[in-house]
């Protein structure tokens, strides 16, 4: 996999004409999304290998009001050893880690400490997650505090009101400011697509985020009533592809919320492979925002390793 990782998306000047020239047909998008997983099949050892790869792209997440030091430490422990070592050994792997651990700002220090020396990045949700209904300057302050606390990745929420009111320039300025506040930390922009009303807004918001310098565009917070779906993902990934063609920058993609099964994970991986290629099947350019997904993958992996169907309690919990 050859990738110029140095080429982080630095954004491009705001260009409203790009936004005007975006067309998306929902029915056709749904048709493609609906057939993607039926046109391709990944079985047996291929499936096991793909699922192991999926594990490395998970942002293992806890975003709850009752998060404490204790459960975050447990989550980090799981991030370091996401798959039982006997299963890994059987497949010829020594170790494997997830893509990142994703927490609220208050839990960053715990996670940073727990993951010290592992190379696993800590991601923090920010800017008044999940609703983003706080003042802009407070958003910037939150990002900066999280960066100072050691977060390598900042998952911000965009201002949905700017999308719904068509204030694309305002959204662009917001993203640029977030990006600046992030400094060396990576900027992941959450579109909260379930609240944007339609696919046109999704495609335009994707473009504005990329123009503003997002390293990743992410579907949802996991808190909207509709979170990651294949059609929405398809639209966003096609925007990533076209942005690459236009600018040469590779922007990552993170579907989040609602991805709970290994089968779903494979569908998303097939989508990435078909629409943008294998480069987007690594943690550098792709993440699953999920908390429950890993458990199902573990069960499928044990099934592959032993030939017997597995049970969730046989796998160490997070």
């Amino acid at each position: 996999m050859v990738r110029k990782s140095a080429l982080r998306n630095s954004g491009i000047p705001f260009d409203s004409s790009i936004l005007e020239d975006r067309w998306v047909n929902k029915s056709a998008v749904e048709r493609r999304a609906g057939t993607l997983g039926k046109r391709r099949s990944v079985k047996k050892e291929y499936q096991a290998a793909w699922l192991l790869r999926a594990v490395t792209m998970i942002d293992l997440t806890t975003l709850s009001g009752d998060d404490t030091e204790g459960n975050v430490i447990r989550l980090c422990a799981k991030a370091k050893k996401p798959v039982r070592s006997d299963i890994l050994e059987q497949m010829g792997f020594d170790s494997l880690t997830v893509g990142a651990v994703c927490v609220y700002h208050n839990r960053i220090s715990t996670a940073v400490e727990a993951l010290n020396g592992t190379g696993i990045p800590v991601a923090a949700v920010s800017t008044g997650f999940p609703a983003g209904q706080i003042a802009h300057r407070d958003k910037l302050a939150e990002i900066k505090k999280s960066v100072r606390a050691g977060a390598n990745e900042i998952d911000i929420v965009i201002s949905r009101d700017k999308v719904l009111r068509g204030n694309w320039r305002g959204l662009y300025d917001e993203i640029c400011a977030f990006r600046e506040a992030c400094g060396e930390s990576h900027l992941k922009t959450i579109l909260a697509t379930g609240e944007l009303g339609n696919l046109e807004n999704v495609i335009r918001a994707s473009w504005v985020c990329m123009m503003g310098g997002a390293d990743f565009i992410k579907t949802s917070t996991g808190k909207e009533s509709v979170n990651a779906t294949l059609p929405v993902s398809l639209v966003m990934v096609r925007a990533i592809r076209e942005y690459l063609e236009m600018t040469g920058f590779r922007v990552g993609f993170k579907p989040a919320g609602g991805i709970r099964t290994a089968r779903q994970a494979l569908d998303w991986m097939i989508l990435m492979k078909e629409e943008v290629g294998d480069e987007w099947l690594s943690a550098e350019l792709f993440r699953f925002g999920a908390s429950g997904l890993l458990g199902d993958i573990e069960r499928q992996l044990e099934h592959f390793a032993t030939g017997n169907y597995s049970a969730i309690h046989r796998h160490p919990m997070a």
Binding site: V24, N25, R32, E45, G92
Partner: protein, 791 residues
């Protein structure tokens, strides 16, 4: 295991994902890989004991031995179907419905076996047989179980035809079988069906399902064989209808062979369907549409979107996207679940495609193939894209029936329509734009039986499918498809004898000799040949002369009729207003027209007045219908609006009946023009003056010039010119049996629609026989427009 997983972890390849074929192989083995004919509910050996092999296109190996049906076998099958016919026809709709329902259930229960068997026999990817073909087959039987149930309530007065002969192609073997058999059985027909020589297996399994379902013996007969077996079905005298799907070439032969036989005919033939992409389309989705249009079933699809027409300003971008997408297509073992293109049906077809591709290159086209792996053995072909081609290139005109897309550009909307219609075919079209106004402007202007907006290759049992032009006629699916398997079962009104003795007739004096000219493009013109014919009354007394038209006059009239094409785009209300005006003006000349009738026919004054009265009433009838015979919105299974719109057929030649010189003449031209067609009429030469007098009514009624053209002369000769004219879309013929046969036979020049009377007289006064729904059906063809929605 560990090294493989590790390796795959790095490469992230798909790996093989073969569908298990053991059940299908077991089924074949259970039959000793040898199949007899399914006739009269029994499996019978072919009379000559001949068998042929069916080949798996993926590996070239023989799968099974199949019976070759000869004359004796076809006779036997038709006899069995005939024998079963009275019982099946008399069976209650509900009982027929239950049997069709059972068939649908059995198809679902055996879905995977059918899918695998189809893939083995045909070479198409298992994804398609599993996810598209077989589910559509089941849906077709469910839907038609419904029509069977509703036969009496929804199709009052109609009933089945008897024994129908059905011949289906190899590209969608079981799906085409369902399109044929489901409506036929629902309407009460019994069936002799011949599957394609290359792909008989699923039809044979279907025969077993018929046995399991308890379909009475003889209702469904499956006879396997080759083209000659099909020919025997087509020519069998006891067949009431022939339904054929296949090449235009064979369709022509069938039309010719059945000419004059009174067999009902539906033909679903070839295509070169346009795929039109406008600048405001969702291009990424359009690319997926193209994949579904031309790389579905290896491009072996009659309605394949094989001609890409793209707006010039986005052409480079779209072509780049298509090439990227093509590079992701996977060609290989059709049983592999991750394969997009399977094997081409046969070596012969492979060669045909290869030759056309070669020709395309030779004529200057730029051929492009993606850098993907193609298996070294088996009938595999890479998907192909041609750029740098023009309509004048062979590959832009001829159906390739393979995975080959040709692309051309257009500048304006009008040019897109012109390019789209620059073909002999007219099966389907796909239109991509996010502008609904544009989409709905283009859809009616494209000459095609099906138009998909922002989608492609959508099918459903509730929507009719079928062609315009040389793509054939008749519809399959939906209400419109049901009519293909039914006839009106009404008592035929008796023909009235209106003749009275010459003595009682009045003489109308014509002081100045007047020889009516021809009426072309709204003007009276002298016949090209400069001759006229003498017209006598029933006792042999000269009434006058009329112009004697020839082929050049027909040519001119057809051109004038084409120029009046704007008539079709007028609203029904506007057309109705003009028709009412015609009625008004005829009414004002009531006496004059009555006298003319008496003079020509020696009928009584009251009979003459009655004919004029009926004529006025008929005009009112069609004026009333002009804005009421409208379409339907079909309830198809996708989220979309499927509009079934009756469209005018185009330019229609009409040979008018001899009886009722005024009412007969009007009864045939009125439904045509009410629906928006333009007409070239040949009046009866026994009494042509009622028609020629009518010029003046037309002239004073604001009917645009060219909508009705009247050429007097020898009916048979002129009808022949019309029937063989390649720019005439349909011919109605009300004359002799021989003339009917000739019109049907000559219609193959461009596969025009024909409606002939086989020499049978018709009671024109009776509203049922003189102006029934049949007239409107014949005056229109249904276009299904699929409009997906959602935002």
């Amino acid at each position: 295991m560990s090294t493989t997983v590790k390796k795959i972890y790095k490469s992230l390849e798909y790996g093989p994902a073969p569908e298990d074929s053991s059940e299908a192989l077991k089924w074949l083995k259970g039959h000793g890989s040898k199949f007899n004919l399914f006739i009269g509910g029994k499996w019978v050996k072919p009379s000559q004991g001949e068998y042929f092999k069916t080949i798996n296109p993926a590996n070239g190996k023989s799968i099974a031995n199949i019976s070759l049906a000869k004359k004796k076998d076809i006779d036997r099958a038709v006899k069995a179907a005939q024998k079963a016919s009275p019982y099946w026809l008399a069976l209650s709709p509900h009982k027929r419905s239950r049997l069709l329902y059972t068939l649908a259930r059995l198809i679902q229960k055996n879905a995977r076996l059918l899918a695998v068997l189809e893939t083995l026999d045909n070479g198409k990817p298992i994804r398609e047989t599993r996810d598209i073909d077989i589910p559509l087959v089941a849906r077709h039987f469910y839907h038609h179980a419904g029509w069977a149930q509703l036969m009496h309530s929804e199709f009052k007065g109609y009933q089945g035809l008897g024994v129908v002969g059905q011949i289906i192609p190899w590209n969608f073997p079981l799906l085409m079988l369902s399109w044929k058999i489901a409506p036929a059985l629902a309407a009460g027909n019994t069936v002799v069906l011949k599957p394609a020589e290359q792909t008989p297996l699923t039809a044979l399994l279907f025969a077993e399902l018929c046995e399991q379902a308890g379909i009475p013996p003889g209702v469904v007969n499956i006879v396997t064989g080759d083209g000659r077996s099909g020919e025997l079905i087509v020519n069998h005298p006891k067949i009431a209808k022939v339904a054929f799907t296949g090449s235009t070439e064979v369709g022509r032969l069938i039309r010719k062979a059945t000419a004059g036989s009174r067999k009902k005919l539906s033909l679903e033939l070839g295509g070169k369907s346009p795929f039109i992409v406008f600048e405001d389309a969702d291009l990424d989705s359009a690319v997926e549409g193209i994949v579904d249009a031309i790389w579905f079933n290896q491009g072996e699809v009659c309605c394949a979107g094989s001609r890409l027409l793209v707006q010039e300003n986005i052409a480079d971008k779209l072509i780049r996207k298509i090439k990227d997408r093509m590079s992701k297509l996977r060609v290989g073992n059709p049983l592999d679940k991750s394969v997009d293109l399977g094997a081409i049906i046969s070596k012969t077809q492979l060669k045909t495609i290869g030759k056309l591709v070669e020709k395309g290159e030779k004529e200057g086209g730029i051929v492009w193939k993606p850098p993907i792996d193609i298996p070294a053995t088996g009938n595999y072909l890479a998907p192909i894209l041609f750029t740098g081609v023009a309509p004048s290139d062979t590959i832009c005109q001829e159906e390739i029936f393979g995975p080959v897309l040709v692309s051309m550009t257009f500048r304006t909307h009008d040019e897109a329509v012109k390019l789209a219609n620059n073909t002999r075919y007219g099966l389907a079209a796909s239109v991509w734009t996010e502008n609904i106004d544009l989409a709905l402007d283009i859809a009616p202007r494209v000459k095609a039986g099906t138009v998909w907006i922002n989608s492609t290759n959508s099918f459903d049992a509730a929507a009719g499918f079928g062609g315009y032009r040389e793509s054939g006629f008749g519809r399959e699916g939906g209400r419109e498809g049901m009519y293909e398997y039914m006839k009106l079962d009404l008592p035929i009104p008796k023909i009235l004898d209106r003749k009275t003795s010459a003595a009682t007739t009045q003489k109308a004096g014509s002081p100045i000799d007047r020889t009516p000219k021809l009426y072309i493009g709204g003007s009276q013109v002298r016949p090209d040949g400069g001759y006229s014919s003498v017209i006598m009354d029933p006792v042999g007394k000269k009434i006058g002369d009329v112009g004697k038209g020839n082929r050049k006059d027909i040519r001119n009239a057809v051109e004038a009729a084409h120029k009046a094409g704007a008539w079709a785009s007028m609203t029904g209300h506007q057309r109705a207003q003009i028709l009412y005006f015609i009625a008004e003006n005829l009414s004002a000349r009531h006496d004059e027209f009555s006298i003319r009738l008496i003079e020509q026919l020696h009928i009584s004054n009251s009979a003459a007045r009655k004919e004029v009265d009926s004529s006025i009433e008929r005009i009112f009838h069609y004026a009333a219908l002009a804005d009421k015979y409208d379409g339907k919105v079909h309830s198809t299974v996708k989220r979309n609006i499927t509009l079934a719109m009756p469209e005018p057929v185009g330019v229609i030649g009409v040979a008018c009946p001899d009886s009722y010189p005024l009412l007969g003449f009007l009864s045939v031209i009125l439904p045509l023009i009410a629906m928006g067609n333009t007409v070239v009429a040949i009046p009866s030469m026994i009494a042509p003056f009622s028609a020629t007098d009518f010029y003046q009514v037309i002239d004073t009624s604001d009917l645009p010039g060219g909508v009705v053209n009247i050429v007097t002369g020898d009916r048979e000769e002129l009808a022949s010119v019309l029937a063989s004219h390649m720019d005439v879309d349909g011919v109605w013929y009300f004359g002799s049996e021989k003339g009917s046969q000739s019109v049907e036979a000559l219609s193959i020049s461009n596969m025009k629609r024909t409606w002939v009377n086989y020499g049978e007289p018709r009671n024109w006064e009776n509203p049922e026989s003189g102006s029934g729904e049949e007239f409107l059906k014949q005056a229109t063809q249904i276009k299904n427009i699929w409009i997906p929605y959602g935002a």
